[in-house]
């Protein structure tokens, strides 16, 4: 690439969402010292506005779909799908954060800027078609999230969460980078399509074992980011320790983006060697579902319980990855959308219920919520039923498509065990409903103030999305199905 390289204007349009978000984040940082503390909240609205504009920019970029910057970036349906998803998750997280930060007296532009930058990274991950870009996107997203996890710096658990996430996360990305170096050494390229071309050509293909090493090293990095077994150990501690809205954000946005690159790399570059990595992903999917569900059975802390549940859900998506078909990819995409809404919704309720310093985060604290705040309880119940996978919710269709894809790929055992797992999971979600509905109100429920307007918007939009996905899944699934054919 010559030094005087000037990208054509279409290329700039194709990264418009990233540009918008970066500008928004930078403005927030600049305005931050100029605003009086009580007005910092406005930066939250600024961030929200930036996210909405970015959503529009995603649509614009999709109109100009195609490769950009010498194919380092590619705007296809897949990219647009995940960009829109992570931006919406970012917006919901901001809505959850507004009152939370006020409550914790930690309102500042920094926080919103970090959210925006993290979304920038995730958007880049969604749209990159080249390993270095993937790595850069992942790092932008991760570093912002590390800081967010420890945002309340006087809080011990926040610090624990951030340091664990940071140390283990950096270690895992090092594996990813090492894997990238291997594959570059083997194929002479970091471009996914080029790697695929080399690997698919029997005359050029390097020794299978060496490619396997590279794929395995990269798997470590991806599995860590999506919290798939056996690299899930950080998840409960980090999710429990981080501020509740940040956990909501982490469990949906970065995870979806990580699955996006996971799918893209394994479905394009490593697709020719699928028979080598399939057993590994199979085993990981199985272990992830089992570990997540069994550990969640015995949790009392809501955030920890939802953390294990998010591991289990990552396991279901891994089942779709194991299927390595276009239907599997589409199923994973749909599932991640449904999961994002139901999970962010559930965490939004936790954010609301926890109160200052997150005092009330145990399952038993929810006792009798249904009698004090029937609407909040009903919404929480809806999210939980969706997490269980009861029909007419997004969670059900997500599971349905995933297991359908798995059966089409002849993964009978994985499907059977996965289905039984989802029945097992019903137990711990039901426990929350039991406490909310069947127990008499306790102190925590009795003193709960009604949710603030911003949080209400987050709750209701997640609920409506969960139901719409459950009744009219075609709205999302059709687009996912069309986008599942990745550029090769």
């Amino acid at each position: 690439m010559p030094a005087s390289y000037i990208p054509p204007w279409e290329d700039l349009l194709r990264v418009l969402p990233e540009i918008v978000l970066t500008v928004g984040g930078t403005i927030a940082m600049v305005l931050e010292p100029l605003l009086r503390p009580e007005k910092k909240r406005r930066l939250g609205w600024l961030a929200l506005a930036a996210l909405l504009v970015a959503l529009w920019a995603t649509a614009v970029a999709h109109v100009f779909a195609g490769p950009a910057f010498r194919a380092m970036i590619i705007v296809d349906g897949f990219a647009t799908f995940f960009r829109a998803l992570v931006i919406v998750v970012g917006a919901l997280a901001v809505l959850c954060s507004l009152n939370y930060l006020e409550r914790e007296r930690a309102d500042s532009g920094e926080y919103y800027a970090l959210v925006l930058f993290s979304v920038v990274g995730q958007c880049l991950m969604a749209a990159s078609n080249e390993l270095i870009m993937i790595f850069i996107g992942l790092e932008i997203s991760s570093i912002s999230t590390y800081v967010l996890a420890g945002y309340l710096r006087d809080d011990v658990r926040n610090n624990e969460s951030a340091i664990k996430y940071f140390l283990l996360g950096s270690f895992a990305t090092a594996f990813l980078l090492y894997g990238i170096a291997w594959i570059y050494g083997l194929t002479g390229s970091t471009d996914l399509s080029e790697i695929r071309r080399v690997l698919a050509n029997p005359e050029l293909a390097p020794a299978g074992a060496l490619v396997g090493v590279s794929a395995a090293l990269m798997f470590v990095g991806f599995a860590f980011k999506v919290s798939a077994a056996p690299f899930q150990i950080w998840t409960p501690d980090v999710y429990q320790g981080a501020p509740a809205p940040v956990t909501a954000f982490m469990s949906a946005g970065p995870k979806a983006a990580a699955f996006a690159i996971f799918l893209r790399v394994y479905m394009t570059a490593f697709e020719p060697v699928a028979s080598r990595w399939e057993p590994v992903v199979w085993l990981s999917a199985l272990a992830t579902m089992l570990v997540g569900n069994f550990a969640a059975l015995v949790q009392n802390n809501l955030k920890r319980l939802l953390a294990y549940s998010s591991i289990a859900h990552a396991g279901y998506v891994m089942v779709a990855v194991t299927a390595h078909s276009e239907i599997g990819t589409a199923a994973a995409m749909f599932y991640l959308v449904a999961y994002a809404f139901m999970n962010v919704g559930a965490f939004a309720v936790v954010t609301h219920f926890a109160r200052e310093r997150e005092r009330y985060v145990n399952v038993d604290d929810l006792a009798g919520l249904a009698q004090r705040q029937p609407v909040t309880a009903a919404l929480f119940a809806l999210f939980l039923l969706s997490l269980i996978g009861i029909p007419l919710t997004g969670g059900f269709f997500g599971k349905f498509y995933i297991f359908k894809a798995a059966l089409e790929a002849n993964l009978y055992w994985l499907t059977g065990i996965g289905l039984l797992n989802s029945a097992l999971a019903a137990y711990y979600y039901l426990r929350i409903i039991v406490v909310m509905y069947f127990h008499e109100p306790g102190e925590a429920a009795a003193t709960l103030a009604p949710p603030a307007p911003a949080l209400k918007v987050a709750l209701w939009s997640s609920a409506v999305a969960t139901l719409v996905l459950g009744v009219f899944p075609s709205l999302v699934l059709d687009f996912a199905g069309k986008s599942a054919t990745l550029a090769r």
Binding site: I390, F400, F403, L419, A423, R431, V434, F438, F472
Partner: protein
């Protein structure tokens, strides 16, 4: 417009209306009663169409719901589902009535959930798309879970969770089966599946058929419940509020037997026929075991619950005789059990409202202070026992006759269940209603009130009607079951994996089955 859609939509709309209507408990009750009565009247309108249609579908609505995979909103009624739908729509207003005073907290939610349950249950019986069927199957689980968990007795939470998990564990397997079937056939539609099976376009290998049959069967058997998968039932029945027990026993258990008749037999005919022996064995064990356990129950609700295990054993026995009589009897017995066991739970609920105890020992000599209550209870008990001229007799007789056509030993064993049922029901009646009246009973137990009459009378009338004028009910049932039976003979020549038939001795035919 197709009344089936109204019957599905109105209770669902009622669910929202009751929940959101500002106002007090009375409005919620009245609204629920009004909605459920309208639905019942509408459902009566289904009868002429089904009578006219013979063995084919009537009141069909078939609309696309989801493009890909092709899932359709396909509902219709035939002779098999007609009476089950009517049973559901009749029992819902009755449940509203019997809960009128009993449910005194979180009233709105109670009636809202009852209406939602109605939609789910009716949906299960009318859905003709396997996916839609599964949706209704699961959706009906949620309101029942809440009904037990919020308004139940002491151990309600344990019972509710157990109920949910048992059903869920079974139904996920069925979901796997449904998806597999779709991947093989490219459709969820029941009639198209049957066509494919008939034309040979869909040929399942014996192994596939057996596994799919099992996936569906376990799910249905848990719901029925078939011995040894019945352990959730006594808990759920005992802990549920009256209305919950009624809906559970009368309608929800029929989801399982309905599923067996509608899906297990026609979709997997060979596997079903091959499995008949062990399934019938389990059914007969259930008949005798349920009756024996009933005999030693000190708790009235538990007694009725175990008697359900016994009665449902008859239904399963009838289904797996693969005879016209057996199948007719099984379908009829589903309705009979719904009417008479529903009535028993209602009456036990009335007693509980008076004396606040479910223990038989807390009662005695009720006939003195409450003669009408005693009379009604006696009629219901006799119906449940299978006295001629009352409903259960007809169904049990047909089932036993069907069983006798296949294997006389089955009849002998199953008939002991009838004898045992007389023991436990009459003992219960004797202990609770006859003899000396203890003071607390004299004080608290009053006779039936008008609202209570309104709740029980329709069922008493039905017991006599179904026991005598069977012609009112049978033609559509027979038409439907004959067709299902015909369907189970499709590719029966496929029965290859049985041990090779012994060489024919001249003149001696092998077992007709």
């Amino acid at each position: 417009m197709n009344p089936v859609n109204w019957i599905l939509a109105l209770p669902a709309a009622g669910f929202l209306a009751v929940l959101l209507w500002p106002g007090r408990a009375e409005t919620a009750r009245a609204l629920a009663l009004a909605v459920s009565l309208v639905v019942f009247v509408l459902s009566l309108g289904l009868i002429p169409g089904v009578w006219g249609a013979g063995a084919s579908w009537s009141h069909v609505t078939d609309l696309p719901w989801i493009e890909s995979p092709a899932i359709r909103y396909h509902v219709a009624v035939d002779g098999l589902s007609l009476w089950l739908v009517l049973l559901t729509t009749l029992l819902t207003p009755i449940c509203v009535l019997i809960s009128w005073r009993y449910i005194d907290r979180r009233v709105k939610e109670f009636y809202a959930l009852l209406l939602l349950l109605e939609t789910g249950l009716v949906g299960v019986f009318v859905a003709l798309d396997l996916f839609l069927f599964y949706v209704f199957w699961e959706v009906s689980l949620v309101p029942m879970y809440f009904l037990i968990g919020v308004w139940g007795h002491e151990r309600r939470i344990y019972a509710a969770v157990k109920f949910f998990l048992f059903t869920m564990a079974g139904s996920v397997l069925m979901l796997g089966g449904i998806i597999y079937l779709y991947n093989r056939s490219g459709t969820f539609d029941y009639s198209i599946l049957l066509e494919q099976i008939n034309s040979g376009a869909l040929m399942l290998t014996p192994l596939e058929q057996r596994l799919l049959f099992l996936a569906f069967f376990i799910s249905f058997a848990i719901k029925v419940p078939l011995f040894p998968l019945h352990t959730w039932l006594p808990d759920a029945h005992v802990e549920a509020p009256s209305a919950g027990s009624v809906m559970l026993a009368s309608v929800m258990l029929k989801m399982g037997t309905y599923g067996l008749v509608r899906y297990s037999l026609p979709l997997f005919p060979n596997a079903a026929r091959q499995s008949a022996d062990w399934i019938v064995t389990l059914a007969i064990i259930g008949i005798i075991y349920g009756a024996l356990v009933s005999m030693v129950q000190p708790n009235m609700k538990k007694l009725v619950a175990y008697s359900s295990v016994s009665h449902l054993g008859f239904v399963v026995l009838g289904i797996f005789t693969f005879t016209q009589l057996g199948l007719d009897g099984a379908v009829y017995q589903m309705l009979n059990h719904g009417v008479s066991t529903g009535a028993l739970f209602i009456l036990v609920g009335y007693l509980y409202e008076r004396r606040h105890s479910l223990e038989t020992a807390a009662y005695g000599g009720i006939a003195t202070p409450a003669p009408w209550l005693a009379t009604v209870f006696l009629i219901t008990s006799l119906a449940s026992v299978g006295l001629p001229m009352l409903n259960n007799f007809v169904g049990e007789f047909l089932v036993l006759q069907g069983a006798a056509q296949v294997n006389f030993r089955w009849t002998v064993l199953a008939a002991t269940g009838v004898v045992l049922s007389a023991c436990y029901m009459l003992w219960l009646y004797q202990k609770a209603f006859l003899g000396a009246t203890p003071e607390p009973v004299r004080e608290h137990v009053y006779d039936l009130r008008p609202r209570e009459w309104a709740g029980i009378l329709p069922l008493i009338v039905l017991m006599v009607w179904m026991g005598t004028l069977t012609r009112t009910f049978f033609p559509p049932i027979s038409a439907a079951s004959a067709q299902i039976l015909e369907q189970t003979k499709v590719n029966a020549e496929f029965l290859v994996s049985r041990p090779a038939a012994p060489p024919l001795v001249a003149g001696v035919m092998p077992d007709a089955r």
